[in-house]
């Protein structure tokens, strides 16, 4: 779709620059490491290093083999990589390792792009923000949906007043349970939680950008009926209800509710209602549909949001400006998840 009202401030600038950069990928644990490595390796003026401490799931391509497949120079461990003084790192480790790796990287003077969720506790997130501040480096949170044209167009329309006063928001981020690729996603010791931690933050980030305010009160319920057969120790279904200080009410379905038989990974939708207009976006809807020998076929297409996000990060690294989405919004959106986890425990809404 076209952007009707021009670019907004979160769009990456396209000022050409030739300052060479070294970027390290810390761990290939997250499946997004594959996309990031491929994009960075193809970016002129960027040298890509990678290290992958493990552990690895049996049958997965990790470590040096992964690096070789993606055109990344493999380094034996994190300390060795950081000793090479990279300009920046991209952290794709298990969620519970984000803080430690961020503290090591920032202490080495590297700017950080951290995979979402930023951390698994509010204390860890605060420590990461403090570490980046102390070192004078960038901390950015990997929320690629921010860079979808459907979303930047929505923001532009809201800023231009086309929707009037926003009063109600409905978001969904549903997909398959991410067990097939990486077992750590469903191991709370390494992931910090299930569907709540995995899927609430993307939508929460979009709402944060749209409203410019943090959440005030959060209610959540979860269950484990979906994929009960997999025997995982985390919630697989969840519904989160949020109230914002301006009175806006929002609901997010974060369930891993798409069965393995579905033809694609899942999707994200955001529906915004204002007194003068309503907009619903479905940034991953674009696809060619059909059938193959296994049934339904889904060939998705559209702009590479990871590439746009990495472009924003590299530009910020080169120019020294603060990129968006930054670490602060990573912490604010994580706070919604931790409040949701407390609400599930308490059986009542929780005030932030």
């Amino acid at each position: 779709m076209t952007t009707a009202l021009g670019p907004i401030s979160t769009s990456p600038t396209t000022e050409p620059t030739t300052v060479p950069l070294t970027v390290g990928i810390l761990s290939f644990a997250h499946t997004h490491a594959s996309s990031y490595a491929r994009i960075l390796a193809a970016t002129p003026g960027v040298e890509v290093l990678g290290t992958d401490p493990g552990p690895y799931d049996p049958g997965t391509v990790r470590g040096a083999a992964f690096a070789a497949e993606h055109g990344v120079t493999y380094v034996e461990d994190v300390a060795t990589l950081l000793a090479k003084a990279p300009d920046a790192v991209v952290i794709c480790a298990e969620n519970t390792s984000h803080r430690e790796l961020t503290e090591l990287a920032t202490a080495a003077g590297a700017h950080v792009l951290c995979e979402k969720p930023l951390a698994t506790s509010d204390a860890d997130a605060a420590a990461m923000l403090a570490a980046a501040d102390a070192a004078g480096v960038i901390l950015m949170t990997a929320y690629p949906v921010r860079f979808a044209s459907a979303f930047t167009d929505l923001v532009a329309r809201v800023r231009a007043g086309q929707l009037g006063d926003i009063y109600s928001i409905l978001g969904t981020n549903n997909g398959k349970m991410p067990l097939a690729q990486r077992s750590w996603f469903t191991d709370p010791a390494r992931s910090g939680g299930g569907a709540l931690l995995d899927h609430v933050v993307h939508v929460a980030d979009l709402i944060d950008a749209l409203l410019g305010e943090g959440a005030e009160e959060v209610h959540a319920v979860t269950n484990r009926i979906l994929r009960a057969d997999a025997g995982v120790d985390v919630e697989t279904g969840g519904m989160v209800s949020i109230r914002y200080p301006s009175g806006v009410i929002a609901t997010i379905d974060c369930s891993w509710s798409h069965p393995e038989s579905a033809p694609n990974w899942g999707g994200l939708t955001l529906e915004v209602h204002g007194t003068a207009g309503s907009v619903r976006i479905d940034p991953f809807a674009a696809h060619v549909a059909g059938y193959d020998a296994d049934g339904e076929l889904w060939a998705g297409f559209g702009a590479d949001l990871d590439a746009r996000m990495l472009g924003e990060f590299l530009d910020a690294v080169r120019t020294g400006r603060t990129p968006q989405p930054d670490g602060a919004v990573g912490a604010r959106t994580l706070a919604i998840v931790t409040a949701a986890q407390r609400s599930v425990e308490a059986g009542q809404p929780v005030t932030l």
């Binding site: 269950n223 069965p259 038989s261």
Partner: protein
């Protein structure tokens, strides 16, 4: 089955689709309404009655399509006159009133049908059949969504008279949530209303926890005048997923030159296969053959009770526990 003799009480927004449904059954219809009775009667070739006392002797059953706060009183009067009752949802403004209507109908030996028409919309009936057929396994997470331009009549926004968006619009999906995912144990709700340039708007967002452990989200919007009617649902089970979105399942796309069409308050339905006609036909068949319909009086009480829990949670900001459904869940009935 003989043609019904029907007293249509009320001539407002929903009366037109009910009138069309009765006409399709070949009913002999007499309209009684404070306002608009003659115009409605003229449009459909019906007669009018100036008073309820004049109406009773002319009809076998009444169809109450008046503002919510008047439902119970009119239903009780009809029952006292020995007439069967079809009553637009909600059955009454409060569950206490609704229960009194059910009790009165049982004592008097007349039939009572709250018009939960969404049970007769084919997409919801198809979802129920798929769930009951085991197509998606055990229901885990469900979403129900319904929105339209806000209604224009003042009483819709008067909480005391209508119960607002929750009792008027969302009650459809509260009923669907139990119909499709079983009894609700617990409710958390938020609601909001705002005055905009184009009129008032309102929204409510509800999380239901079912006794089975399933979670439902029910979301409603009465929006700006340009918001078209849409409803959608997505129901995920441990073996599959059902999805329907009226806005994405259009069997015709029409774009005419000229001013853009505004939103509407009622869904577009196939006039030759109207869910409103289907529900009235089911009610009349149930009366004629002494069978059950797809909606029973107690279902209407239950829907109001859940809606009251939603209002209570939205007002208090706390989770509200619901008493278990006091009666057996709906039997298979005669699904349309």
């Amino acid at each position: 089955m003989s043609a019904p003799r029907v007293g249509l009480i009320g001539a407002g927004g929903i009366s037109g689709v009910h009138a069309a449904g009765w006409r399709a059954l070949g009913a002999d219809v007499v309209v009684h309404s404070e306002h608009g009775a003659q115009a409605l009667a003229d449009r459909f070739g019906f007669r009018t009655a100036d008073t309820l006392a004049d109406l009773w002797p002319q009809v076998d059953l009444v169809d109450i399509v008046t503002p919510t706060a008047t439902h119970a009183e009119l239903a009780l009067a009809a029952i006292a006159a020995g007439r069967h009752v079809v009553c637009e949802k909600p059955l009454a403004r409060t569950s206490v009133e609704a229960a009194a209507v059910v009790e009165a109908a049982e004592s008097a030996g007349v039939r009572l049908f709250p018009a939960h028409v969404v049970r007769y919309f084919p997409e919801y009936a198809a979802a129920r059949a798929a769930i009951r057929g085991g197509r998606i396994g055990t229901v885990a997470v469900a979403r129900f969504r319904r929105m339209s331009a806000a209604p224009k009549a003042d009483w819709f926004f008067d909480e005391a008279r209508s119960g607002g968006i929750v009792l008027d619009q969302m009650i459809h999906d509260l009923d669907q949530a139990e119909w499709l995912a079983g009894p609700v144990a617990r409710v958390f709700a938020r609601s909001t209303a705002k005055a905009g340039d184009g009129g008032r708007v309102a929204s409510a967002a509800v999380t239901l926890t079912h006794t089975s452990g399933a979670i439902s989200q029910v979301y409603g919007v009465w929006g700006h005048p340009g918001l078209p009617f849409t409803s959608s649902f997505e129901i995920a089970g441990d073996a599959g997923l059902l999805r329907y979105d009226m806005a994405r399942t259009d069997s015709a796309r029409i774009h005419l030159a000229g001013p853009a069409t505004a939103g509407g308050y009622l869904p577009a339905t196939d006039p030759s296969d109207s869910p409103y006609a289907a529900e009235l036909a089911d009610f009349w068949a149930a009366i004629s053959t002494s069978a059950e319909a797809s909606v029973r009086g107690v279902d209407g009480v239950r829907a109001v009770a859940i809606a009251e829990a939603v209002l209570a949670s939205a007002a208090s900001g706390e989770v509200v526990e619901l008493p278990l459904e006091p009666t057996e869940p709906s039997t298979e009935g005669s699904l349309p």
